[in-house]
């Protein structure tokens, strides 16, 4: 995957944090992922990609981080439903904002949310999977981009 494509997703996530008035996110060095060993934290929001590009984009992070983000957007309740909704909305925002660069043929699905660390997340065959590690406050999270 081109460097520019990775930057699109980093910019989308940075924009998300900026808009909710949160501190800057720091981004680690992206690395290639073995499709058989997907990265996953407590909650994962997965967006399917179709159209000109095919594959998926997902965002995964710990429960404590989502709880903090929920409070940042004014939510007083932190239930599992809220946590799943939040991680799905972050994934939706990251993938949706990428259309500014990739155009409307970068078609995105509604989010699918996985709770807990699954045995595996099926990543599409013939894709290069790039993990973009991110850190916000003390919380480690990641964007994983698996596109043909």
């Amino acid at each position: 995957m081109e460097k520019e494509s990775i930057e699109v997703f980093i910019n989308s996530l940075s924009n998300f944090y900026r808009q909710i008035g949160a501190a800057e996110v720091s981004v680690g060095v992206p690395y290639l992922l073995d499709a058989n060993q997907p990265v996953a934290s407590d909650f994962t929001g997965i967006i399917g990609i179709s159209g000109k590009r095919r594959g998926c984009v997902y965002f995964t992070c710990p429960k404590a981080m989502l709880s903090y983000l929920l409070m940042s957007v004014g939510e007083s309740e932190v239930t599992t439903e809220h946590l799943c909704d939040m991680v799905g909305e972050i994934a939706n925002t990251i993938a949706g904002n990428a259309r500014k660069e990739f155009g409307s043929e970068f078609m995105i699905s509604v989010p699918v949310v996985v709770q807990g660390v699954p045995e595996n997340i099926h990543l599409p065959d013939n894709t290069r999977c790039v993990v973009i590690p991110t850190k916000w406050k003390s919380y480690q999270s990641a964007i994983v981009v698996a596109l043909e």
């Binding site: 998300f16 808009q19 004014g74 939510e75 909305e89 925002t93 949706g96 259309r99 409307s104």
Partner: protein, 124 residues
């Protein structure tokens, strides 16, 4: 004599976004008449409540916002529709506007941006 309350309808598959818009819309003289989590529900709710102002997401299950907007416009021809979506490409915004929306607010948004976008449509 008390002024008649106007009706705001909120459509988004994210509960957090629906709750946030309900809490932060900042419109005086508007009451939220209902919320929907997909396009099908939105069309039915619009027919039932005849809202004056609607916020609608685009990426939703069952029926997306792009398909729901013309149906809502047909059911409520005077309703103003604000798209609130993460889809940030120009082609999508143009498509939504050509189908009957009057405004477009890109996610993520601040409370101030939401209030400004809604106020502009409400006063239009």
């Amino acid at each position: 004599m008390a002024e008649t309350m106007k009706r705001l309808m909120i459509v988004d598959d994210s509960m957090i976004i629906r709750r946030r818009i309900k809490r932060e819309h900042g419109l005086e003289n508007f009451s939220v008449v209902g919320t929907a989590s997909d396009g099908e529900q939105a069309v039915a709710l619009a027919r039932q409540t005849n809202p004056d102002l609607i916020t609608i997401d685009l990426t939703m299950p069952n029926m997306d916002g792009i398909d729901a907007i013309p149906l809502i416009s047909e059911a409520c021809p005077t309703a103003k529709i604000l798209v609130v979506s993460a889809l940030s490409d120009k082609a999508t915004a143009i498509q939504a506007l050509s189908r009957g929306a009057q405004g477009f607010l890109c996610k993520p948004f601040t409370d101030e941006e939401l209030q400004q976008a809604l106020k502009e449509l409400a006063e239009d």
